[in-house]
Symmetry: C2
């Protein structure tokens, strides 16, 4: 029996259309040439100028990757200060050692010609960014490998281009963190936001308060040495690591280890479930600050970055209200709201950080006033941004906006440095295009695609109106306060096996949004380049592609899972927080099922859509036979899937989706084969079928119907 797959072949089909080089992120300025540099065994690298030792290690790593991609046995492979170019090769010139800190120069100029390659940069960090560009320029033909001819003058648009990884939910091991750092470096991201503490666990060693890792980690934490290992790895790639200890809420783990810090006396245990919980540090006791002084000083000493995140989000306030002593304290101090008390707490915490030479970062709650929505909306519409926030908070605090543009705008309007995360929540498995068009400084007259979670968008419509009218939201100086953004990978619903498919390749387009000029926003071209990037990220160890079939093999015990893969390729997890609404998920749940094997924004769905759009443009009708064969293959595939699923209960969701795909195929064939008499009713029936089969089953959606809907609905009798 022959096997078959019905993924559509798109090799080379879009290459001719492309006007941009195969780079992600796209450089600020570039000029393509038809003058490639051909790579030979004698290729060599020389570094001139005062570079950090990191530069030589990265140049050696570049050599290794180049060898792996091309199969060339190079004569030399290690680059050090004495390395010289033999005949021709890559000459790197740097002016000074880069500092892995906010705002240091990351610009570079790269010129590739047939006679050689020159990479110039102010700092070695800039040169390292340039190396990542260069490795994306590898091409090949019958005569061998080459770097495409190009002249590039590149620099980032924003200085803070981050990715948050939360460790308390599903713990990510060192190898996961390392491959993530490799992939971040590949797309020129420069901040790993390392989220350490939450209700579910505390994830680094504490020598000062060892119960934190001994008791509140379930054995899953980074030791001092491992923290250093991670920092060294990031440092070599010019990536900062910003730690976060989330207080005063999200603190069950800390309280479980040290119950005297709690606002309410009760039995504490680590949370197994996901959500927002009440346990909160007691902000009225001096012992709390003594504790935090020691703890934050310890953590600050481990992480060299100037910035230190103290969380401050989602304090329910309920435990403070439950404790009469805290209520009395508030009255005595004239603190009328939970937020006022939290501001008092924040001030004390900031003091500790200042003593350690650190600048605090907080989620937008640390700044926003606790006022009701209608009042807030009124202030916002009237432009009274100062009324929305606690302007007493010192201006050197950095605000991370996760709730929406109103927070970002208000903080910038009031002189606070800000980074945007709203719209970059990659754990919500939304399409890359959504994240891509979400700009920290909204672009020209274009409108942001609204988020599906209405509660995070109370001011969004207002902003959209302003943008539509072409109004500038921020002054030039205010715009400078927007430092950049951060993609966030909250790890409730991912494991070490599935996280990569939720981060990559989509986060590559966020990296481009934060690096490339604002006018770079062609969605089709973005997808073309993202798919190329995806393979390059896999070569760095990311498992976003290869784990799909592995997980299908685990569920079936079979080596050959192509029939199942044929269905999964059209399945995407339900977007947003749907899965959080169920209470049965914990760290120990099986994250190995259909929804976990499915991935957001599937390439194959986009390919299917593109294929049908090409059909639509055809003047002949031969495409109908091609389409029929595709639909027949879906039906045949379903028979295999049902046979496997029959004895594999864990595939129940997948089997239903497969049956739906078959149903869609049958309905599609009926439309294609319809007589003039039945055509209209078959088309109507198709719409009903398509609506039916797209409904979520097992937290994922079959996207095949939507991909071909336009074409089917535009069909007419010929």
């Amino acid at each position: 029996m022959k096997k078959w797959l019905f993924i559509l072949l798109t090799i080379g089909s879009t290459a001719a259309v492309a006007q941009t080089p195969d780079l992600m992120p796209l450089p600020a300025h570039y000029t393509l040439s038809s003058n490639p540099y051909r790579i030979s065994r004698t290729f060599s690298i020389e570094v001139q100028g005062e570079a950090d030792p990191r530069m030589y290690r990265e140049a050696s790593r570049f050599f290794q990757r180049l060898s792996e991609r091309t199969g060339i046995f190079f004569k030399t492979w290690l680059v050090n200060a004495t390395s010289r170019i033999n005949e021709s090769g890559l000459l790197i010139k740097v002016q000074r050692k880069g500092k892995v800190e906010l705002g240091d120069d990351e610009s570079y100029q790269l010129q590739v010609t047939s006679s050689g390659i020159q990479l110039n940069a102010v700092t070695d960090i800039g040169a390292i960014r340039g190396l990542e560009t260069l490795i994306q320029l590898i091409g090949s033909d019958a005569n061998g490998y080459f770097f495409h001819g190009i002249t590039i003058d590149d620099r980032p648009r924003f200085s803070w281009r981050g990715l948050l990884i939360s460790q308390p939910y599903h713990f990510m091991t060192m190898d996961v963190i390392k491959r993530t750092l490799d992939a971040m470096a590949a797309v020129k991201m420069n901040v790993l936001h390392f989220y350490i503490s939450d209700d579910q666990g505390y994830r680094i060693e504490s020598k000062v308060f060892p119960r934190l890792h001994e008791l509140a980690s379930d054995g899953m934490y980074f030791t001092y040495e491992q923290v250093k290992e991670m920092l060294d790895y990031a440092h070599q790639r010019g990536i900062r690591v910003v730690p976060e200890i989330d207080v005063p809420g999200h603190s069950t783990a800390i309280i479980y280890a040290y119950p005297h810090l709690a606002s309410v006396k009760r039995e504490y245990t680590l949370q197994d479930h996901w959500g927002v919980f009440d346990p909160t540090l007691d902000p009225t006791k001096e012992t709390t600050y003594t504790f935090l002084d020691s703890l934050l000083t310890e953590v600050a000493s481990l992480f060299p970055d100037r910035y230190f995140h103290i969380g401050g989000d989602e304090n329910t306030g309920r435990d403070w209200k439950r404790n009469p002593e805290i209520q009395s304290f508030m009255k005595a101090k004239g603190l009328n709201t939970t937020l006022a008390l939290q501001n008092y707490f924040n001030k004390r915490v900031r003091g500790i950080l200042e003593k350690n030479g650190k600048t605090a970062v907080g989620w937008d709650e640390v700044l926003m006033k606790e006022i009701n929505d209608s009042t807030a909306k009124k202030y916002f519409e009237e432009g009274r941004y100062d009324q929305l926030i606690e302007t007493a908070v010192p201006k050197d605090m950095v605000i991370q906006s996760w709730r929406g543009m109103e927070a970002l705008l208000s903080s910038a309007k009031n002189g606070y440095k800000s980074i945007l995360s709203k719209g970059y929540y990659i754990d919500l498995v939304q399409p890359a295009s959504y994240h891509y068009l979400n700009d920290p400084i909204p672009f020209r007259n274009e409108v942001i695609i609204p988020d599906s979670e209405a509660n995070f968008n109370r001011f969004e419509s207002n902003i959209v109106e302003k943008i539509k009218k072409g109004e500038r939201l921020l002054s030039e100086n205010e715009e400078k306060l927007i430092l950049g953004g951060e993609a966030t990978m909250w790890t409730e619903h991912v494991t070490t096996e599935t996280m990569d498919s939720r981060i990559w390749p989509r986060t590559g387009v966020i990296a481009e949004r934060l690096w490339s000029p604002p006018h770079v926003r062609d969605v089709d071209d973005m997808y073309r380049r993202m798919d190329i990037l995806s393979i390059q990220l896999e070569a760095l160890g990311c498992t976003h592609i290869k784990n799909r079939d592995m997980m299908l093999r685990r569920l079936t015990g079979m080596q050959d899972v192509h029939a199942l893969a044929n269905v999964v390729q059209f399945l995407e997890p339900v977007q947003g927080y749907q899965r959080n609404k169920l209470n049965n998920f914990t760290r120990f749940s099986p994250y190995t099922l259909t929804v976990d094997i499915a991935a957001p924004d599937q390439k194959e769905v986009r390919d299917l859509k593109q294929k049908f759009q090409q059909f639509r443009q055809r003047t002949d009708t031969a495409w109908k036979q091609e389409a029929r064969e595709l639909f027949y293959s879906w039906i045949a595939n379903d028979r295999i899937v049902q046979d496997i699923a029959k004895r594999t209960p864990a595939l129940a969701d997948l089997a239903q989706h497969s049956a739906h795909l078959s149903k869609l195929a049958i309905s599609s064939l009926r439309v294609l084969n319809a007589s003039p008499a039945s055509f209209a009713s078959e088309k109507k029936e198709w719409m009903t079928t398509a609506d039916g089969v797209k409904k979520p089953i097992g937290h994922c959606e079959l996207k095949a119907g939507e991909a071909i809907r336009d074409v089917i609905s535009s069909l007419s009798l010929q």
Copy 2:
């Protein structure tokens, strides 16, 4: 365009034939029943008796794996001393804490019935072995998941069942070591032989001699903390870790860091290439022993196991001959040969180990006399085993035999404990069946398949004769000295990406050889069970299946590599040391090419062979059409491959093999379609073609022709 794969479907085709349960290794005694235990959400585990805390962690890990495989959301998930069975579940009874040391009790009894599961063991290590059996007993049907009904009484045949990983060539990171330990535990192996030092590097931190890791590691080493992390991980799985510091040869790394230890003064640098090199410690200087005293004491303190490997192999002796002072020393001491001097050295080293409470292990050179082959052969044939070895070596030394049976036999005959590695060199990419039939105590009248490397087999023919005659090679007491065996993964030609496909699943059959009774040696059934095991190993993180397509994607930059995979599935790396004979391979070479993507003993080759054997047994001729379609698909596939390879020079080898596959298909079709007049000549032509296409290209061989040769050659006109 539809995609297709031409791998043969064999799902369920062999299941009916099987008489054995789907277990690897097979238990010593078992009785199958048709009384399965059905798994529900309320499944629970209780541990009775005095168990090491390791038992609870392993039971919890079992729970997690069960959940991942079945998708069941269990009500409980963490097993501890207070865990009790709810309704029904798994009751584990252990008598005492196991000791992770040679020879502790690993036996267990397992009973699975519809009313519950009982696992009894003397030690918790035995119970952990039983858990690995139980997880292999998962089955499923339309009603859900179950454990197959069975009664098992199991214990290992040998007490030393090891795997050697060499760290100096290609360094294996912590995640690789951990997944290897997981896989070893799955097949009940109990020794990780951790090979630390060689000419290419020294791979653990030394606080006593820090230049070892600072200078002689290229930055690739395990810190103290990482060594402990590895040991803890192994300890939880009941796996010993035996360190090896190879002296006095294979010591360039040590000498590079501390040149005063060298036998010859010269410029030393780490070896980048593979092979046997001259640099050797100077055995005549007291400073050498002072150094080794400190170093071995340090390493001995890190690794708690009683056994410590000191290497002793492949000392070329040349550097000792080059140094007149060493020659004078030998004369003065009456040491006439290199080996005599090495024995003097070994004695001193053993003294250091004894002081640390350690027993030395050495490669067979530490025992074998340096006598010429003909004399040795004479002694061997005459049964004068004492003449072959240095009987002065203390009897508590363990001999690891890598050169052949003569060493193993001689050492056992003279009262030395021995472990066999000859025949378990998995880095030589030989078929699983070869390793499987290689028994540390040769079985009955069966003959060992001779190794292709004649120089390691000078006595093999002699032994084969004895076995053929049914002579017992060792007495019962001598047999008891054979402790077991070790598979060896020398990492010259593997990277972290490819090592798994060289270890797994083949090492599973070595594990079975060392665990299961000697009469368990049905090769067909072994392969059936090995293929099932392979998927289970992948679920533990092993990359032996999923990295194939990843590596093809890296070389092509394409998501869809099925046409390439269709060829690679029939390609196996050339067996033995062929690749070592070329001098162009180093740690930095591209181990990403066709030979690295290919894997030993491909399942698809075996499936193809099986398919054609089934054809042969058919009485109708309809199979010919099936065969024709297969051959057509090979030809069509080649067109796609050539198109891709045209612009991908790194695929040159693969393209040639693909062309050969197409050529073989054309020739096969000509045989199938031959007229009576041309039949004989087409068959003859086929043989020439098949001989031609099996020749190695790029260090790998196309196996498709051999798989179908029997059937084609037995074809007759009908």
